[in-house]
């Protein structure tokens, strides 16, 4: 029992799957960090050479293109975290490019020189991306973070001084770990896990990190957006906990290949990985519909290589676990939805100076999130292989009819595993579609999602002549809803959702077993609770009103894609 007590103190709910931190795949990888980075450089070079053959270009074309894109990025989109020497670096590259043009008559020397330049660029990128994993930092973080969280939670839960000190409210009481947690633990020793969560808020990565720790799983390697490194406290931990840097501004082919190779080789080494395949936080509040396929492709690539050469991890198999986070409240909702409405359709990864820039702001952010949220659900979805077949706890794949599937065969033609870049790109696209499909199934519906969805849809139905922007401009006095009609509509939506849940098409939070009135009150009370202007509130016992329709629309979007508008 003593050990259990010990785990609880460290914020672990389960016994660690691999007790000794030095045995974790991630620790093993970074024990031979230099070797690992050299392999990434070598493999990136190989990949780029292969790519130039497919595209009928040359290494010097590749460098020229990259140089061009980098110079544009530096002038148009400079960030504080950018290295000071990068201007000089790229102007030196430019000079070298001019110089080697004179070697045109000597193709061999030309190739050699351009390869050297390529290697210099790749090494630069590898060192920029690379992280490290220090068991000591992890030990510190795991002691520090739960303490930090529970202090926040207890303080925010308005408990007595005594309970704050005793930490009687643990993170696990506010954050529910649901779904296939047992399977995750079993699979962690049967192969390599790629966890792919939805992304709504900046607290997601912290929560996922904590949840993996609480489940007793080894640390996962994780690609963190460069913008997060603007916060000193996050940067300190992330750099030492295996989070590597992803700079989404750099869309040049050399950077992409380097980043992908870094991920591929980590997975090949059996290191569990975490991607947010949506790329950035969902601006609209909708569950991701289109995923960034780059990093997903690295899982397919690693899976194929595990069949071409003996696997280096515990087994050749790679598992995908979709994960969905449900909140009543997203702190950044207002800025996210405003960006969405302003830039609908445009890609944007810009730095949020105002969100995480200082330690104080970071703490305030976390504090506000936890103090306001009555409940957060992290649902671990059904584990699959990379082809969308579900796997059992032993890692065996089964098709729709319950037949065992030998996944090596997906890469085979005429009895042999074959390299086929185009085929794997298709598999990646299919995997992306499958993950999106699973997100909708694994999604856990909260009362607040339903009250927002119905309120917005009723306003929309009442104003059939208005488009989205028209609805968002409905004057305050017309934003009221009569409770009688509202309750009836909620009932219909609930009935539909319960049917869908029975058919395994979606999940419902346990608080949705209550009667309609309780659900409405619970939902309205919790919906976007912290916002200065409430998305939905009671004007009186018979009338609901929306103070901020943008926010109402944002929270409403969570239930888009289920065909629920037909019962409004």
């Amino acid at each position: 029992m003593e050990s259990v007590q010990h785990y609880i103190q460290e914020g672990i709910l389960y016994k660690p799957v691999v007790p000794n931190i030095h045995d974790w795949p991630i620790a093993q990888l970074f024990k031979k960090k230099q070797h690992f980075l050299e392999e990434v450089i070598r493999e990136t070079m190989n990949g780029l050479h292969a790519q130039t053959k497919i595209d009928h270009t040359s290494v010097s074309d590749l460098i020229a293109k990259t140089m061009f894109m980098e110079r544009i990025r530096m002038t148009e989109d400079p960030w504080k975290v950018d290295p000071k020497d990068e201007g000089k670096y790229w102007s030196d590259i430019k000079k070298d490019m001019v110089r080697i043009q004179q070697l045109e008559h000597d193709p061999e020397a030309f190739t050699q020189r351009s390869d050297q330049m390529l290697e210099s660029i790749v090494s630069r990128y590898v060192n920029e991306i690379a992280s490290t994993f220090r068991p000591a930092s992890y030990h510190f973080a795991k002691r520090f973070l739960p303490f930090f969280f529970s202090t926040l939670l207890n303080a925010s839960a308005g408990k007595t001084v005594k309970s704050v000190i005793n930490h009687s409210v643990g993170l696990q009481e506010k954050v529910h770990l649901l779904g296939e947690t047992e399977a995750m633990r079993k699979l962690a020793t049967k192969g390599t896990i790629v966890l792919v969560p939805t992304h709504f808020s900046n607290v997601d990565s912290i929560l996922v990190g904590w949840s993996l720790h609480a489940l007793g799983l080894p640390a996962f390697i994780y690609g963190a957006g460069l913008n997060l490194y603007n916060s000193a406290i996050l940067a300190y931990f992330m750099k030492r906990l295996g989070a590597y840097k992803v700079d989404r501004r750099k869309k040049n082919p050399i950077y992409r290949q380097t980043l992908n190779t870094y991920s591929t080789i980590s997975i090949l080494e059996g290191v569990h990985s975490l991607f947010f395949p949506g790329g950035t936080r969902s601006r609209s509040g909708m569950i991701e519909k289109k995923l960034k396929l780059g990093l997903l492709g690295t899982a397919i690539e690693a899976q194929k290589r595990n069949f071409l050469a003996p696997p280096r991890g515990v087994s050749e198999k790679i598992f995908v676990v979709p994960m969905v986070m449900s909140y009543h409240f997203v702190l950044e909702a207002a800025s996210l939805i405003n960006q969405h409405l302003t830039f609908t359709g445009q890609e944007q990864y810009y730095i949020n100076n105002d969100e995480f820039a200082s330690y104080r702001k970071f703490l305030k952010f976390i504090w506000t999130t936890f103090s306001a949220s009555s409940e957060i659900a992290l649902s671990f979805g059904k584990p699959m292989d990379l082809f969308g077949n579900f796997v059992d706890e032993n890692g065996n794949s089964f098709d729709n009819h319950g037949r065992r599937v030998d996944i090596k065969s997906y890469f085979m033609t005429r009895g042999e595993v074959k390299e086929d870049w185009q085929r794997d790109a298709e598999y990646t696209r299919m995997l992306g579609d499958k993950i999106v499909e699973r997100y909708h199934v694994e999604n856990r519906v909260f009362s607040s999602h339903i009250v927002a969805f119905v309120a917005y849809q009723m306003l929309k139905k009442r104003n059939p002549e208005l488009d989205l922007y028209g609805i968002l401009r409905i004057p305050p006095e017309e934003r009221t809803l009569d409770m009688g009609e509202y309750r009836k509509t909620i009932e219909r939506v609930l009935e539909r959702l319960r049917n869908m849940a029975d058919q395994g098409k979606v999940h419902l939070a346990t608080h949705l077993v209550n009667d309609v009135q309780t659900i409405i009150e619970h939902g309205v009370q919790n919906l976007g609770i912290y916002h200065a202007q409430r998305p939905l509130s009671f004007q009186d016992s018979q009338t609901l009103v929306s103070e901020n329709i943008n926010l109402l629309y944002y929270y409403h979007n969570r239930l888009e894609g289920y065909g629920l508008s037909s019962v409004i």
Binding site: F387, N389, D399, N400, H401, R403, V405, D406, I407, S409, Y410, M412, T413, R414, G415, D420, Q422, R423, E426, Y427, R429, M430
Partner: protein, 351 residues
């Protein structure tokens, strides 16, 4: 280029109807072929006599009645069975398939999962989750992801006569297109590749509707002007339906769309055309269907598209009128008049 070193392998064909045997004979020019017949007596008869009901098979075609043998021997398989029997066939084949198999179907029909108690003639509305293309059914029912479709102006009897022709092999996978081309192409048969699997499947399926309509016009003794009108407006309608279901119009402008449409809308050798022709000559639909040896996919497609149109609220005047003449006793002449009076907006509005 097309005649690859791998020509010693065996490819499979499922379905020994007229298109199945024509395809098998075409493949036999490049590969050894294993042809599956559902009924053991048909397989035996073909194997022994090399001919059955006027259809002969090439020397390099062997027969089988075992789906497990077919799956074991062949990595590349061409299913050519009526869409009606497709799921059932896959249920039998599925247990023997591995993800390394490649399936290229040549079926110009849709799969429908009807609500309980409904049949095709009574169902009012259908949505996309109830209507699947053949490649979607393959991915649902089996582990095979490398799927493709062969479609184009490929009247079985002309292929059997050795006349020059062409087809499209569509797949998301270059590998499947390559394999299909390698197995199918010859000095008299061209094979074009296309990545738009959904568009090509739909083009092949939808043209059957127009083939029935063309048969009716022919049976009513209308001439070439009228047929040209139908082909042109028919293509526009196919594109319109395709777009409503999310397809890219481009696929409809190639061999699988306009190509196949031109071929079947003037050929008594087409089954769908024949159905229309006999209707115009005064037979009832039930009489025609009863006496036909093989399935005319177009009849089912008319019902499906009509129900999809009702659900997604798009107009498909030719299909909808055809439905009325087929199932609601609308007089053919009256249907024709309705179509002539239909207010089309522009000549070419669909691209």
């Amino acid at each position: 280029m097309g005649f690859q070193a791998s020509s010693n392998e065996t490819v499979g064909v499922i379905g020994s109807g007229s298109f199945g045997t024509a395809l098998a004979n075409l493949l036999a020019e490049n590969r050894r072929v294993l042809l599956y017949a559902r009924r053991p007596e048909v397989a035996e008869k073909f194997q022994k006599d090399r001919t059955y009901r006027g259809r002969s098979i090439h020397a390099k075609v062997s027969m089988t009645n075992s789906l497990s043998e077919l799956a074991k021997e062949c990595e590349l398989i061409f299913p050519v069975v009526p869409s009606e029997n497709f799921r059932e066939m896959l249920a039998g084949l599925g247990p023997f398939l591995k993800p390394s198999h490649k399936l290229i179907h040549g079926i110009k029909g849709l799969d429908v999962q009807l609500p309980k108690g409904e049949d095709l003639r009574t169902v009012e509305k259908l949505n996309r989750s109830q209507v699947k293309t053949m490649s979607e059914v393959i991915m649902e029912e089996t582990v095979v992801l490398r799927v493709g479709c062969a479609a184009g102006p490929n009247l079985a009897s002309e292929i059997e006569e050795g006349q020059p022709a062409a087809t499209v092999v569509a797949s998301h996978f270059d590998e499947v297109i390559r394999e299909g081309q390698g197995a199918l192409r010859s000095s008299r048969f061209r094979v074009h590749g296309n990545h738009d699997l959904f568009g090509i499947e739909l083009a092949g399926v939808l043209k059957n509707i127009m083939a029935i309509a063309a048969g009716i016009l022919h049976g009513l003794n209308y001439g070439d002007n009228t047929r040209a009108l139908l082909v042109t407006r028919g293509l526009a309608e196919m594109v319109h339906i395709g777009k409503a279901l999310g397809a890219d119009p481009k696929a409809f402008l190639g061999l699988a769309g306009i190509g196949d449409l031109v071929a079947t809308s003037s050929s008594p050798r087409s089954r769908n055309f024949t159905v229309g022709f006999r209707l115009a000559k005064g037979e009832t639909l039930d009489q025609i269907l009863e006496s036909m040896e093989e399935v005319a996919e177009g009849i089912k497609t008319v019902c499906v598209v009509k129900a999809l149109a009702a659900n997604y609220k798009f107009s498909a005047p030719i299909t909808q009128t055809l439905y009325k003449t087929l199932f609601e006793d609308m007089d053919l002449q009256h249907g024709m008049r309705l179509l002539m009076e239909f207010p089309f907006r522009e000549d070419v509005e669909f691209i």
